[in-house]
Symmetry: C2
Subunit: 368 residues, 2 copies
């Protein structure tokens, strides 16, 4: 089994250990020579270039992704030529285009914020009038980690975006906290749902994850699982699906974003669960039996390392406590960049959280 | 940090995930293009060839090993040129030469079988007379997995070996079971001792490992740890040291073999312990802080996959139970070859053992 991954970021990098364990040959189409997943890079080039992409695809049994930026029309063309694209273009488009996602999910029994696609400042003002003067604006495509998202209070606030095309507007949900529900699904339909986790964002970027989501009732967990299963089946997702959700002050869930690949909120499962999200993704896209996703301890906490995860920071995190699990993405330092993460597991949430946070801070440079 | 590994077997392969997590660049000097560790192979050649070995060593910060077959004189020459060889030649020689090992350990406070180095059939017969007519004969160098070991009852039985050189003779220990004690030590002296495990051999080859060793008393565990620590410090081991031991019918420990690298008996720790032996080895040879080696469940059982661990066998093992963790070494099938292993963890030893064994048998071909 040869699995090709488009994109050489940390998600591709973290598929490498899973592939090595399972005897899967992993090949990466990387953006540049020094990509995070360079160890498995067999091609370097532009994934938007048909010749580059199709040549890479021809040499693999299954094509999957580190990111969702491959143009839909290229994916459709690959599928037309018989490539096993997983997730397929018909599913991936809903992770690529947030307006299409809202439209598609509106036909399913899943809870959404109020939303509208605005094409003019007047459309924006009309929605703001309904929403009490404040809303969330998103570019339908290309956003990530807080980019392409704004809190707005007038049509002026998105006039630049409107010049380029339609803008998705969403209700600004008053939420208690953010949760993420991961699931993995095989082409032949088998599915497994990971434990519900809580994500803690800073500036629109995931900073910490706690598994399982503290204090979540069985009803809440069942509803989150149902939402992920409903979406995965309705759009025929293969591989890992991540559903980011708000938990409102009333304890209701509202779907925020989708990703159809391993997701930052699932890094906690590499140590936290019997089967990591990376292995589960590979098993799922290979149409192999899915693994157990039970948690291995009462608690697991992940804290991202921003800016830099070079040798001195890795050393400092390991030195902080022998129980700290460190992951460096092998990237050049850059302020704010997701450069690595730490995970700590145990039976005492307060202890686990404190050790993970302190390890992440240890050796942090001024610029990080 | 660039770590070079001499040898492209499964031990080198299983260092790759640990290196990727820690941001260590791993390079492998492999025997051939299709080695188990081919993903990280940056050189293919003969490790007994000075030019090949020294060129490889020049490009790494630390040199370590997948096996102990690199000639001592080449290692000494590398050290003379300033290469960080870990473990160093002065330690590794005791894993390379069983007669030297017995001699060195005799000066330490560790329990050994009776032994002698025989140079003639008369020497052999003299030792056999003391031992009641039966003994174990070993070639001092080059043996592994039951090769280079014979049960003998006369000088005739090793006449072929004696023509090539001296033969190590050892008391045939009446043992209740076999145990293995792993430890890891940094160049600057920090050391961590893994939980004591039981190994189950078939035909002189490790077939199963149970962690922790069932029913081992605290005294026995402390004695096993003391033996490993004594050896590691006395010979200045860096990296992982594996001490294979017999537990006699009287509950005494006797040192059987040494290895100074990750060891089959430690595969169980990849899932079974907080820190795997592969990561611990890399941390140790890099002189980085060592990780926690606590077990993550009450029990972990490893069962080797012999002969073949190709796609259909991996699939069958995963299909047997979602809790099975599968490792394929990416090798061509060959009868009797160590091709992979499975690990199962849990709180019920009988269940864990049964699932691991059944998963290992699932999909086994006739020839395996």
């Amino acid at each position: 089994m040869i699995i090709g991954v488009v994109g050489g970021g940390q998600l591709a990098r973290m598929m490498i250990p899973a592939a090595e364990a399972l005897g899967i040959e992993i090949r990466v189409l990387a953006e540049h020579q020094d990509s995070s997943a360079r160890l498995a890079a067999t091609a370097v080039g532009d994934y938007r270039d048909w010749d580059t992409l199709s040549a890479f695809a021809k040499e693999v049994d299954v094509l999957t992704f580190d990111h969702e930026h491959v143009p839909t029309e290229l994916l459709e063309k690959l599928e037309g030529e018989g490539t096993n694209v997983r997730p397929g273009s018909q599913a991936l488009v809903f992770a690529q285009d947030k307006a299409l996602m809202r439209e598609r999910l509106s036909s399913l029994d899943v809870p959404l914020p109020r939303w509208v696609v605005a094409k003019s400042p007047e459309d924006v003002d009309a929605f703001l009038a309904i929403e009490g003067g404040e809303a969330i604006a998103k570019t339908p495509r290309g956003g990530y980690d807080g980019k392409g998202v704004r809190v707005i209070s007038s049509g002026e606030d998105v006039s630049d975006w409107l010049e380029a095309g339609a803008v998705l507007l969403e209700q600004k949900v008053a939420f208690r906290r953010e949760l993420a529900q991961l699931a993995a699904r095989r082409p032949t339909g088998g599915m497994r749902v990971f434990p519900l986790v809580q994500t803690i964002q800073e500036g629109g970027v995931c900073a910490e994850v706690v598994a399982p989501a503290p204090g979540a009732s069985d009803e809440l967990k069942a509803e989150a699982a149902r939402i992920a299963q409903t979406i995965a089946e309705a759009v025929d997702v293969t591989g890992v699906l991540a559903v980011e959700m708000f938990e409102t002050e009333d304890g209701e869930l509202i779907v925020n974003e989708l990703a159809m690949r391993p997701h930052n909120s699932g890094h906690v499962f590499t140590e936290g669960a019997v089967t990591s999200q990376f292995e589960q993704h590979l098993r799922a896209v290979a149409d192999w039996p899915l693994g157990d996703v039970s948690l291995r301890n009462e608690w697991a906490v992940m804290v991202n390392l921003f800016g830099d995860a070079g040798e001195s920071r890795v050393y400092a995190a390991m030195e902080h406590s022998p129980e700290v699990r460190v992951h460096s993405y092998g990237k050049e330092p850059r302020p704010g960049r997701k450069a690595g993460h730490v995970v700590v597991c145990g039976s005492d949430l307060e202890h686990v959280h404190q050790v993970a946070r302190a390890a992440a801070r240890a050796g942090e440079s001024e610029e990080s």
